[in-house]
């Protein structure tokens, strides 16, 4: 019996191996959110960090990056403050003091350089040049001065993989700034996303700011995400959809900030 199985395996070794390898690949596909798989990813990307050194070296040749970091950090704090002022003003208009708008402007952010913008034909992640040693934790918001760019998913000592906002699997709770309608943002293309099931009676303006809703533990409330680019009426439905243009072009980011989790 065993001899027959052994002979069969030997005769069809290529196919047996193919089935095993495809099985292992399928296992990884089906267990993406498994902490052990994420930990393995963090270790592998940490070990292979050296392959990004040439790109990093080319990048730092300009010398301006470091100089800009502190200015950008200041800029991001001011922009956040600006968004909060706008929020406060709208809130004031509605005479809704009872809501007790939380002062969450003060947050700790970690400036990090982008090490790599993916090595696969599918661009859904970036690798950051910083990890646990810099105080970065998994599932933290990643932002630029313009707005949200994604969240950290696997963190090693010195590198971090970021799940980008334009990935098909990315979902985020958002709110339209003027109409106050909350919804879930789903990515559509590289630069756009869709908020579905907005009641037709809700007024949505083109160019209206879209902010994070704050319902998630990952993304801080009131952080800019994008602007309404188009409102799509849905036939025979009580809802309409809004197409959002992201503030950040993920293809061009070079430095980002990780919001430190409390």
């Amino acid at each position: 019996m065993f001899t027959r199985i052994y002979n069969f395996v030997l005769d069809y070794i290529e196919y047996v191996l193919l089935v095993i390898l495809l099985g292992v690949a399928s296992f990884f596909i089906s267990s993406n959110e498994n902490p052990d798989v994420r930990s393995l990813q963090a270790h592998v990307s940490s070990v292979l960090r050296f392959i990004h050194y040439p790109a990093k070296w080319l990048d730092t040749l300009s010398g301006l990056v470091e100089e800009n970091n502190s200015l950008k950090e200041q800029n991001i704090q001011l922009k956040l403050l600006n968004v909060k002022f706008k929020e406060a003003w709208l809130e004031n208009q509605r005479l809704n003091d009872l809501m007790g708008f939380a002062d969450s402007v003060k947050m700790e952010i970690i400036p990090v350089k982008v090490l790599n913008k993916g090595v696969t034909p599918i661009f859904n992640s970036i690798l950051l040049d910083g990890g646990e040693n810099q105080g970065i934790a998994a599932y933290s918001a990643v932002v630029t001065t313009q707005g949200i760019i994604g969240k950290t998913v696997s963190v090693s000592k010195n590198s971090t993989t970021v799940h980008l906002i334009n990935d098909v699997n990315f979902r985020m709770g958002v709110r339209l700034q003027k109409s106050r309608h909350s919804g879930v943002l789903e990515p559509m293309t590289d630069r756009t996303g869709l908020i579905m099931e907005i009641p037709k009676t809700t007024p949505v303006e083109i160019g209206e700011d879209v902010l994070t809703s704050g319902y998630s533990d990952i993304f801080p409330k009131g952080f800019p995400v994008g602007k309404v680019e188009e409102v799509r009426e849905v036939e025979n439905s009580i809802y309409k959809n809004a197409v959002i243009k992201f503030n950040v072009n993920v293809n061009t980011v070079e430095e980002v900030f990780v919001v430190k989790r409390k």
Binding site: L21, I29, I51, N116, P121, I122
Partner: protein, 161 residues
Amino acid sequence: MTRKILIYIGIAIILLTIQGIVGPWLTIQKIRPDFLLILVLFIGQKEGRIFGQLAGFIIGITMDFVGMSTFLGLSAFVMTLSGFFAGYLKNQRNKINIFSYYITILVIFLIHFFLLYSFYYHSLNLSLQYRMIRYVFPSLIYTGVFYFLIEFIFSKQFERK
């Protein structure tokens, strides 16, 4: 054999670095060439199905861990298949019609990108036509151009083998 494996590992690391540096610069409308797929195809053609699929799996899983935030294992899956199929072309270069040979390579590219984008975009409910025109064919052409360029540059070496 060990020397050969080390050479392939070296080439894979160099290509991974090149892909990381020039990949974003060569990206046009979200489409970028896949140099590592080209390497897997060359390995498959030269070493056969077993080595081809093993190389495809190892290179693919490395790409996943270094460059994917979701769908870890997808590159490994499609690269394994591509390496396996490329293995059928081992020692066929001078045996079959050269036109059939290159058509087979293009078919492998087609299967690779079709599976890659079908898995990745399955949740978006994109139509087959849109997926093919927007992602599969442009990726096939873009990577194909680089494949034939590299093939042309190293054609002497292939003929010698």
